[in-house]
Amino acid sequence: MSLEKIIMPKLGESVTEGTINSWLVKVGDTVNKYDPIAEVMTDKVNAEIPSSFSGVIKEIVVEEGETVAVDELICYIEVSNGSNSVNDSDEEIVQQTGEVPATAAEVDNEQSMKLRYSPAVLKRAAEHQIDLTDVTGTGIGGRITRKDIDAYISKGLGKSSHSKVNEEKAARQINQTLSKKDIEIPVTGVRKMIAENMVRSKQEIPHAWMTVETDVTELVKYRNEIKDDFKRREGYSLTYFAFFIHAIARALREYPEINSTWAGNKIIQRHDINISIAVAKENELFVPVIKHADEKSVKGIAREIFELANKARSGKLTQNDMEGGTFTVNNTGTFGSVSSMGIINHPQAAILQVEAIIKRPVIIKDMFAARDMVNLSLSLDHRILDGLICGRFLARVKQLLENINEQTTTV
């Protein structure tokens, strides 16, 4: 028998932490290798953690709802080594029996060094006002190592303790105003994630906004001419949104400043143009990514929108589908909105809201004309971008869109 550790797996390239949504096993349960043991949520994706061993769950270290860094211990599992065949050498048996008391001792005497604090640990505890009895030690005899307290600090003083405080505050406020017919909806899962991300973006990023009005009469005409044929041939719709993303990706190529992300002490201008698109599903919101959008045709983009939306609706989006976005385009026009101020998708530099296309009277050469008009509303991170560059970018998007017609554009 030996005690093995199960750690928080890395569930995506840029994922650094995960939240245990729920445990699917309890202490004492017997599990087989690859059995799911817990449901974990990373940035907007839910996944199950498979067991790395066959054995008995001995101790659950991370509570439901707790967020831990990748590679951190989440539970202990006791693995039986009884399956070793008869021809084991004596040496191996000695080793095995030698191991058991060692691990047993570690578990039993877990506390013997628990109160022996090194100067490094005491200093950090004082600086961050940490009660050391709350910290779990992984050193000899349960000693709290410098790494343990550093991990505790980065977890405790990071966003989780803040959001815990906020949650408690929020909970209290709801209690105060609750009347009999009100319904309480606990904020969990994707909703909670959306809330945290939005708070972070809104609190951290100094947003600024601008809107341009664009005449897409020619685009509407062109699309109407070909859309039925396209649908019949391809099996999915040729949406306006695909034309918009196509034009925006081209403009981003010409204005790389907009295609940036914020990294604290520096700004990273991204080479790849990966467009995040918002896909709503009842009370959930997903932001899958169209990668290398500037290299794709209108048709290619239309197909990808169709596929990503389908995946979102059926809950099949993977972490890979959500990663790497450099700019977000939000199709607010679907809801009939004509003006909105989007919250930037952290750490991107900007988000563009494509509003509803509406037929309106417009004055052209001193005469009224009925034109299909659309507003493009840009929210920008004023740390990264200024009005001048954004104005030029929007003007270019407008120009590209107004020039779409049968002659200039092939789908």
Binding site: S118, P119, L122, K123, G139, T145, R146
Partner: protein
């Protein structure tokens, strides 16, 4: 660029300096026609003649004393002591003359001598051919003591030592001579004296050491990496005066420090390193500073099992690091 052994890199450094500066010359026992007992000066006698590659009598005090005199008159001597074990007759010259002349003459005189000597055990050299003598010199301001850990460093540091305007003791681990090989550039480059070097970045435990033990620590680190222990290695390179800043940084990085020397533990160079850490890093320390050194025994034994017991090995370093990591 070609792959050179530690001793070939040392030879290359001397050849290049002899070529570059007519004031450079070599003096020592068997350095001339024989080309050195370890072949460090092989071929140099034929290339530069008996005036610049001088065979000296068996008199270390004279080898160093002649060098000091020539250095004070503007030459750049490289004095070779055949084995560091034999340096003791020259200690008075080194400590009382070479180290002090700049201070004593209020900067009127200086002494740009380099004294090379092979040190260390592991070659069945027993009492008179295995000693580590660096601690003898690490309390004399005016001296610099350099101990390279690799062929690349050996070439750059020896050239810097020869060009240094003050006396430099240059100790070469004799087991490293043909054990260590790496790519060494043919062009001229210098490595600054007095600067330690991070040989490996790690986050769990720190090893601070010098000379051949750096190589052993690197091997131990590769082994421990498989066990998930990430080792940080600082090579002192110059053991006197010590690079305090680098020591403080390396110790603070992990808070768990292992100091390694092949010398006897008490009074060794790493005791001073431990003192620097104690003075500056208390609030970053997460474990008692550990020392791994030779036992308090007068000399390296000749019998192979005893010699092995006496010496630092990769396994001993790995075992100490494992305990530190678990602490």
């Amino acid at each position: 660029m070609s792959e050179l052994t530690y001793i070939q890199a040392i030879r290359m450094a001397m050849e290049e300096e002899l070529q570059r500066d007519d004031n450079v010359f070599i003096v020592g026992e068997d350095v001339g026609t024989k080309g050195g007992v370890f072949k460090a000066t092989e071929g140099l006698y034929d290339m530069y003649g008996e005036d610049r590659v001088i065979d000296a009598p068996l008199a270390e005090s004279a080898i160093v004393g002649v060098g000091i005199g020539a250095a004070m008159y503007g030459m750049r001597p490289i004095a070779e002591i055949q084995f560091a074990d034999f340096i003791f007759p020259a200690v008075n010259q080194i400590v009382s003359e070479a180290a002090k002349i700049r201070y004593r003459s209020n900067n009127d005189w200086n002494c740009p001598i380099t004294i090379r000597a092979p040190y260390g055990g592991g070659i069945a050299g027993a009492l008179y051919h295995s000693q580590s003598v660096e601690a003898m010199f690490n309390s004399h301001p005016g001296l610099k003591v350099v101990i390279p850990s690799s062929p690349y460093d050996a070439k750059g540091l020896l050239k810097a030592a020869i060009r240094d305007n003050d006396p430099v003791l240059f100790f070469e681990h004799k087991r490293a001579y043909r054990l260590l090989k790496e790519e060494v550039p043919e062009e001229d480059y210098l490595i600054p004296i007095g600067k330690a070097d991070i040989k490996r970045e790690g986050t769990d435990v720190t090893v601070i050491t010098y000379g051949l033990s750096v190589h052993q620590a690197k091997q131990a680190a590769t082994e421990l990496e498989k066990e998930g222990i990430d080792v940080h290695i600082l090579d002192l390179r110059t053991v006197y005066p010590l690079d305090q800043e680098a020591i403080i940084e390396a110790a603070s990085k992990t808070g768990k420090v292992l100091l390694v020397t092949e010398d006897n533990k008490e009074g060794s160079v790493i005791g001073e390193v431990a003192a620097i850490i104690a003075e500056h890093c208390l609030f970053e320390l997460d474990a008692p500073v550990r020392r791994l050194a030779a036992p308090e025994i007068p000399a390296m034994p000749y019998a192979h099992p005893l010699e092995k017991e006496f010496l630092i090995t990769e396994e001993k370093i790995a075992a100490s690091l494992r305990e530190l990591a678990r602490f």
